[in-house]
Amino acid sequence: MHYLLSLTVWTPIIAGVVVLFAGKNDSLARLISLIGALIATVLSLIVFIIFDASISGLQFVENIPWITSLHINYAVGVDGISMPFVFLNNFITLLVIIAGFKVIKFKVALYNSMFLLMTGFISGAFCATDAILFYVFFEAMLIPMYLIIGVWGSSNRVYAAIKFFLYTLLGSLLMLIALIYLYNVSGKTFNIFAYYHTQLAMVPQILIFIAFFFSFAVKVPMWPVHTWLPDAHPEAPTGGSMVLAAITLKIGGYGFFRFILPIVPDASRTLSGLMITLSLIAIVYIGLVAIVQKDMKKLVAYSSISHMGFVTLGCFMFVGNSLNTWAMQGAVVQMISHGFVSAAMFMCIGVMYDRVHSRNVADYGGVASKMPIFATFYMLFAMANSGLPGTSGFVGEFMVILGAVQVNLMYAFLAGLTLILGAGYTLWMYKRTIFGEINNKHVDEMSDVNSHEFIVLFLLAVSVLVMGIYPELFIAKMQLGVKDVIALAMQSKL
């Protein structure tokens, strides 16, 4: 029990290294990856279940000195905010590995290994309570993602991979400077929680805010630093897109909760107007951009940016000095929900792409008559993506809008536009690809989902519905975590 969290983090990494050495034996590589991912998912599920929602603060804490001369510790622990993501992360990776079982035929061992390594690194970033440990995991995940996009991506993959890498690298390097600065002013410690009570003047706060903002806003991604995402997604393989949308983006959102709001609360309040503006631009403008996309993956990528706008919007709903609880909780729920929904959307597009080898909306039409089971699942996910009540997509957006109403009716109105825009781009795409006449002979040759795809879609559908009908399951676990952040964001460090 004591090392449960470390076990969750390191199981996929070790499995990934083992798989790497499986070399040419594809079926062995697949088997080991599946077992590794399964164990990690079960472990994270155990963490989820035995996590005590009635205690605030960290649980499953481990703290071992690592680099003593620099006071860096191997310190992990989860609170209500990070814990659900550890589960989400392992769950999605399991699905990615199942989904790639038949589809990936080129360098199987490397592919699976990269995903397992990435899962471990991402879990590590969510669990780390030492700033440098966080940074190491945060950066390390770039290497597998770079290779995933670059090796298995489509035509323009090299450009996309390098753009993805460099964008995220610049942000995180600036964060490194901020972390070392905090290390020096907080009495030589890299413990993130020690920074929560470090006094900081306004100018350093603003500068630290900018450094963190660059790093996390690029990951979220917020307008105007979002341009890497619509390039990276279409070029990445299906699994890559699923992980990218479902989890990698969440680390950006998580950063706002873990770093920005508690460490620089005064700067957050001062700059909240700017953050809200950027979020609203993302929600409305990027939503409009999504409507005109011809490439399905690009469309979902833009819709991701628009949906993630709710997360950043929810983070900065200040009423006077204190944050709105509804909006904050909504932001976390929105992240988890978007994890399921965006993964499902990319999975659906991947299923179609594997059969027709086109991402163009115009190349499809009438898929429903050939793939009825698939079309049903796809319908559910499309509804969730447009925020239909009863699906997970509704809960988070509704909570954020509810919070926004209490702050400023105008914000709520603009954010509410997403319900129209979201329905517009998602359902219009659905209509054009799934219904109508079959114009393309490749579509005519399509066969319905196979067993692997069915399992993945089914599990995602269950998750989306459970979260939509009984969101309390997640909200109860994260409530106190959110409350802590709100309390910390209320203090003044000046």
Partner: protein
């Protein structure tokens, strides 16, 4: 007079071994030249053993105090022997293939090591100079050894002329300091003198310092004294580039530490400003120009310039933390480029020379292990965790911010961000591109290959547990 020669025994043994190689080489036939490799390896091992035996925790002086064996010298010499030993393992096949296997090669190589040993242990400005010249002259010869190649000849010529200019600047500066301090060449006497005098107003001393710094950074290859690096890296055979790109960097950094910290530390307000400026320029030129390179050796040359910018930043903090970070950076950099050059050298077999970046196209399909090694090297050079290069950069940044240079640290990370691009491009070429060149190479012997793999693995291991090497570097400085 202190005529104790014990601390200098390793140097004496090394000189004897060089003579032995030259003697043996004169008597063995063309087909038995590989015996030279054996003698070189034995020389390095025996020197290592003697070095360990002569060590004692107190600083030892010899030759009328001109020669010093302190913990810095001891530690860095041991590192030099290990690195040189690995270099020999990496290049021996290459040398045979390229018909460079003459007795001279190893004899000159050991002269390089001897020069490094003298530089590391010198406590007197003239001895430092003598060590430097021993190293430099041997290097000129190594570059020129491939004399049928027009590029090598050009590189050797450039190297020699510019190197002589650098040495001249250094000597000129030394003579001014000699004059300004009333005839002192011993480093500790220079320190004593500067304690008593009004340093900032001593124009002669500062004037001499400018020339000394110019001469020093010439050897490190900081901008604007960097012109020779890309040409020499490109023009030399890969074996020579491996030597220049690894062991000589250790010598260069210790050389600068000896001069500036052991001798002229009270002038640090003056020289740290110079180093800061040169470091800023080096990071800029090194990283930007490396992007435009198509030759991988030239690219690594520019990358060296950028990395030496980091070294300059570490030194300019003039703190124990900063200096030990510099040593840490140097050791990690040397280990990383050692693996990189090692992989390139082993890929260059027979008449084939792995030189252009395009030669690496699709390497992950033909030689997945070499590709994996180069991948680790590139990410380590770019400073991405969990590889050792990250901690090297991290330590320097930490040292900079600890003394308040936040803007400089920010500039540094922006430049390393730009630098990441060309390292990524190498990975891209190996993993994303289709291979166009038929690379069917005979395998290098298993020992060299396993050492290379171990070397690459070290980068990963040190990226996860770097504290041992960090503590080692700190001990060298504070001991």
């Amino acid at each position: 007079m202190n005529m104790n020669i014990i601390p200098a025994l390793p140097e004496i043994l090394m000189a004897a071994m060089i003579v032995l190689i030259l003697l043996v080489d004169a008597f063995v036939g063309e087909d038995k030249k590989s015996i030279n490799t054996g003698i070189t390896l034995i020389a390095l091992i025996s020197v290592y053993i003697v070095q360990v035996l002569v060590y004692n925790p107190h600083t030892q002086l010899a030759f009328n105090n001109m020669f010093i064996l302190d913990s810095l010298a001891q530690g860095m010499k041991l590192v030099t022997y290990i690195v040189s030993f690995i270099v020999v393992l990496y290049i021996k096949q290459y040398i045979t293939d390229k018909k460079l296997q003459k007795g001279e090669f190893y004899a000159i190589f050991l002269f390089v090591i001897l020069g490094i040993m003298v530089m590391i242990s010198a406590d007197n400005m003239l001895i430092l100079y003598v060590g430097l010249e021993l190293l430099s002259l041997a290097l000129y010869a190594l570059v020129a050894l491939n004399r049928d190649n027009i590029k090598s000849t050009e590189a050797a010529m450039k190297f020699f002329i510019l190197g002589a200019l650098g040495s001249g600047l250094l000597l000129f500066g030394i003579s001014f300091i000699y004059g300004a301090t009333g005839g002192q060449l011993q480093l500790e006497e220079v320190i004593k003198y500067t304690y008593q005098s009004d340093v900032p107003n001593n124009a002669l001393l500062v004037f001499g310092l400018v020339f000394v710094v110019a001469g020093l950074v010439f050897k490190l290859g900081l901008v604007p004294f960097h012109m020779w690096i890309p040409d020499v890296y490109e023009g030399s055979s890969l074996a020579t580039t491996t030597i220049i790109g690894t062991v000589t960097k250790i010598a260069g950094v210790v050389f600068v530490i000896r001069f500036l910290i052991n001798g002229l530390v009270l002038l640090s307000p003056q020289w740290s400003l110079m180093l800061a400026l040169l470091g800023v320029l080096s990071l800029f030129i090194g990283n930007i120009v490396a992007i435009a390179q198509t030759n991988i050796k030239r690219m690594l040359g520019y990358s060296t310039i950028a990395h030496m910018g980091f070294v300059a930043f570490g030194l300019m903090t003039v703190s124990v933390d900063g200096i030990s970070s510099t040593l840490f950076y140097t050791i990690i950099y040397v280990l990383t480029s050692l693996a990189g050059f090692g992989a390139l050298t082993m890929l260059s077999r027979g008449s084939y020379e792995c030189e252009s970046i395009d030669d690496l196209k699709g390497l992950s399909k033909t030689h997945p292990i070499y590709a994996g090694i180069i991948l680790l090297v590139m990410f380590s050079l770019a400073g991405i965790p969990p590889l050792a290069g990250f901690y090297a950069k991290f330590k320097i940044l930490e040292a900079l911010i600890a003394v308040g240079y936040i803007k400089l640290a920010t500039y540094t990370v922006i430049m390393s961000f730009i630098g990441a691009f060309y390292y990524l491009r190498i990975v891209k070429v190996m993993y994303f591109d289709e291979n166009t060149i038929d690379l069917r190479l005979a395998d290098v012997n298993i020992v060299s290959r396993s050492v290379l793999m171990l070397n690459a693995l070290t980068l990963l291991v040190l990226g996860i547990v770097p504290s041992g090497v960090m503590a080692f570097c700190l001990k060298l400085i504070s001991g």
